[in-house]
Amino acid sequence: MSDEYADAAAAVTALVAGRAGDWDLAGLIPEPLLRELGATGRLCATVPAEYGGPGWSSLAGGQFTAHVGSLCSSLRSVMTSQGMAAWTVERLGTAAQRRAYLPRLTSGELAAVGFSEPLAGSDLSAIGTTIRSEGGMLVVDGHKVWVTAAHYADLLVVFGRYGEGAAAVVIPADAPGVRVRRVADPMGCRAAGHAEVILEGVRLPADHLLGGDGLSLPLLVTTALAYGRISVAWGCVGILRGCLAAVASHVVSRRQFGEPLASHQLVARHVAELYVAEQTATRACEHASRCWDEGTPDMVGATVLAKHVGAVQAARGAATAVQVMASAGAQDGHVVARAHRDAKLMEIIEGSNEMCELMLAQHALATLEGS
């Protein structure tokens, strides 16, 4: 495993080749590069080998996610989407659907997952997208917004109402009735291909439905988002590692008042804060991933905790990194400038800070009440 991980990390470093800043400025990652990485299966590295995936543990996949996140949060966001799409198929799909879709997601096709709508952000119970059966076919109507990676995607996994409950559907992005429009100038993860997806009378064969009758929308969404959250959490570790590396090299080489910046105590404190942030986020992610790998029920709360700790630490740490780098990092495209914008989005995506706090409070009260 360790060799395989080191090879994968070196390969993706070579693939990115220091171009993350250019992608940030252009708002695009070259699509052939995404497909090349996708064809190695490493955009969704926890997919089991029987479906053509690398079959990595959550911990190994997480370390790889952090590595990609340290290079380019836009690329890491595309990974998160691909992994969440694969996970949704794995959890909600039948064995036949897993065999049909997972090998496509590990061989170069790209996927995105649609939750949010104009009137349903944090409150996903307000989802208005509908999936209905009509003459042996499925018909999907709805409007999804901020669908990460949708600009690049071949397959869109979309959550909607179905009968008395909810379901997800797999929609080819080129199906009639599907329109994908890129979000103009997103503030962070600018090259992640965020788009709105408009679905008007999209007709699909019945076997594109993941799940079945009467499923619980909150349970489906919670299941899918669990993967997104652990992936974002590791991505935040990556943001912090990218910042720490830039800051560490800057403070020993840059001299002011006759000595390296690192010798100034107020700067040294910033370095310490950044290190604490990176270590804290790493420990929270390691714990959550171990829970995933052991299949313990603690994974659910630990994942929300890791996401929240990661996002808050990354946002604070990136701001600190910009402060230390000052004019050397204050230009769009620079690793700490990207980190500052990207990390702020991590406090919003996959459950805002406030939603995470509500869940953590509820979790704490449910486990402690009456004890």
């Binding site: 909600l92 499923l215 486990t367």
Partner: protein, 88 residues
């Protein structure tokens, strides 16, 4: 696969719920009725059932009705133990 007795599963689930929530739940109490448990906790239960009973709770079984009471969860587990892969 061996199918566990309903009463054994139910007792274990009552113990599990007590250990996680510090409350005593009757076998037919609706766990998710008002003032009950969250969808986050529903997912914890799914993971617990998978780990403890070596079953896989997938797609069409993710109905809240299956997790509403201790009795309904035990029934689900027994069905999955008898039926093999729930995803088929």
């Amino acid at each position: 696969m061996t199918v566990s007795p309903q009463s054994t599963i139910q007792q274990e689930l009552v113990d599990f719920l007590h250990s996680r929530t510090k409350k005593v739940w009757e076998e037919d109490t609706d766990l998710f009725a008002s003032g009950g448990l969250s969808s986050l906790f529903a997912m914890e239960i799914v993971v617990h059932l998978e780990k403890t009973y070596d079953v896989s709770v997938r797609g069409k079984d993710l109905r809240l009705d299956n997790f509403r009471t201790v009795t309904s969860m035990a029934t689900l587990v027994r069905r999955l133990q008898g039926a093999g892969d729930a995803g088929e």
